[in-house]
Symmetry: none
DNA sequence: GATGAATGAGGGTTCATTCAT
DNA sequence: TATGAATGAACCCTCATTCAT
């Protein structure tokens, strides 16, 4: 679900353009995910999306701009999902929150690896990366604070970083064979539950 | 530091070659770590190691071969360290093993980022990556089995994957500011302890 | 400013077209002058003139055609001015003619640099350039012949070429700082006067 | 006669390289002269000089660097010639100096048009252009001062600018047909003599 | 064996021009 | 007719790799 207004310099004005942009984004996400930012080529992105190279550059004036747009879109998507989750938290038990976090990450997987490849790319501004990480941490910390009412903001932030770190690892899990994957996911689910529970316990104790 | 083999007439040459290779490897590790596999250039590696580009290619016939060699060396280093740890395990309490695992990862950090950059590089054969991962998992699983005597091999493997995943995250922690880093490490240490302890408990229960 | 021909139903359209063409020509003159023929882009000319690129191509079927049109217009302008000057010559003293020539060049300066950039552009047909030069030389030669009645046509032509050459240099003078520019212009004025006077003298002698 | 140390970033170290650079410079001068800086392509320069594109870039790391090197070489050549002329001046009559200046310009013609095309190119730093112009003006002004001993420095400078301007025009003369060219040159020679003589006269008077 | 000049495929990007809407 | 999205040849430049010296 691409946003109607991405950060591309030249937003398309006709319906056809909208479709083209969607095709480009799809191809770019795939190729960045497959090869990483540096190895991906604009030529291949154009080819896979059925776009002439010149058209690709009409919508995204540089490779970096394309990556930025993709990242922004991804960030907005993630932010939205986390905000929704946050609003559910008051009605959930910690274990359910833990499960929701794992599910959230799992749901993101398909798009995730491309984001990682872009975030790690050396070409991107450190700022861009930092803002994205900050957003994620803040959102997760908020969820932690609602899940474990008494935690200090500082503790919530540390926990957010740790959670993110665990969840991030989940993406690697997707490349396992199905059987191993299921076990891995179950184990991770257990770990996250335990982590939240223990924190809640430490709090109360 | 003379080589252990100095009896032949070729010794000086061999010695020079060895130094040269060491210089190349040092430069390559640095540059791969700084820029990632794709962005690093053979020319720069040659320059930083004070080697002519032609000589670099004499020792490592391609960029990929160089990366493979680096990875192999890194893998051996890691394997060695884990084997040593494994031998200590029988005399340690689970918490100490947990700490040792965290320390092990921390100790690896300096060399780590280059390895990640190589492992993630798309250019490398999946096989290469797989073997490396397999080795790590096997070694950690062995440690787990010695730490928690009753676990099934399958369970130990799953735990190894999860542990690796957590520890892997630690590398990201190194880019935090010192204060945040210390907290993060403490938290991770706690998590790993808890994870091993709970597994031991589940086992015994 | 209504067109002189407003009797047809197409008048409004024609009127719009005329304005459009005027806007394009204005923008094109500016941009060619600023950047030179090769670096100027049709897209920018379209943008600055508020014209869609497709419309620009409707009026001028190629970049070269646009340049030709500009050059033609400039040539007509120059020709007209020189013809007017020629008619004044019989009533002027040689020094006044010299001054008039310098003033003429100075008056042209604002539009001049674009013309130079077009005339020098390698893309233009040599023919086009030749015709333009021929026109200028002929017109100046005519003025010379009226200024110095006895000169042979051949001599007048040579003088025209030399005069043109001097006057052409004046355009470079416009980029000097004001103080230097004023001195330069005075000096050139003197030179041109001297040149005409000496030719007249040689003639008579 | 290429200088032994041009401004190229990577000076060749072997004899073969020296030849290659000479070939590149020759081709570049020709092509820049034929088409101008913007239209000239590195690919064509490489092809005409029998060099692989990669090799061209080894010696001149960018198109601009190549142009700068050419310009620098040309400037040094010109400076040298003018310095030599200046030393002859004390032994010459003004008319001879005038002739020498015209001859100097004529001798430069073959290389001249490329320099003009580079100096006028928009891509070059204004500084580079300014320095070149300054050098020329200074050198000519020095010659003027030695030719007409009493002139003020300021007057000499103005005259230098005017002379340069006239001489510059001579390059255009080279594209005339032989007959016209000879007349033109004779006329220019006369003009320059007259100019110097009149200045000397004004001085003395 | 060591050296570094040479090679050329391929990458990001631009822009004159066309044509469907 | 007016519009601007689409096209793709061509540009400048990089770099892994080879090979003559």
């Amino acid at each position: 679900m691409p946003t109607e207004d991405s950060s591309s310099a030249n937003a398309p004005k006709r319906e056809r353009g909208r479709l083209r942009v969607a095709a480009i984004i799809k191809a770019a996400v795939e190729i960045f995910a497959e090869k990483g930012y540096d190895v991906a080529t604009m030529t291949e992105i154009a080819a896979r999306s059925g776009t002439a190279i010149g058209s690709l550059y009409r919508f995204f004036p540089s490779k970096e701009a394309l990556a930025d747009a993709l990242l922004l879109q991804y960030a907005q998507h993630v932010k939205h999902a986390l905000t929704e989750l946050e609003q559910q938290v008051p009605h959930m038990k910690p274990d359910s929150v833990a499960d929701a976090l794992v599910d959230f990450m799992l749901a993101l997987q398909s798009q995730r690896s491309f984001a990682v490849s872009l975030i790690d790319a050396r070409g991107l501004e450190a700022n861009e990366r930092k803002r994205f990480r900050e957003m994620m941490r803040g959102a997760i910390a908020d969820i932690v604070r609602k899940t474990i009412p008494g935690v200090t903001p500082a503790k919530a932030r540390v926990m957010a970083v740790v959670l993110l770190l665990m969840l991030k690892g989940l993406s690697g899990a997707m490349s396992e064979e199905p059987a191993a994957r299921a076990m891995l996911i179950a184990e991770m689910r257990e770990l996250v539950r335990m982590y939240l529970a223990s924190a809640a316990g430490r709090k109360r104790a």
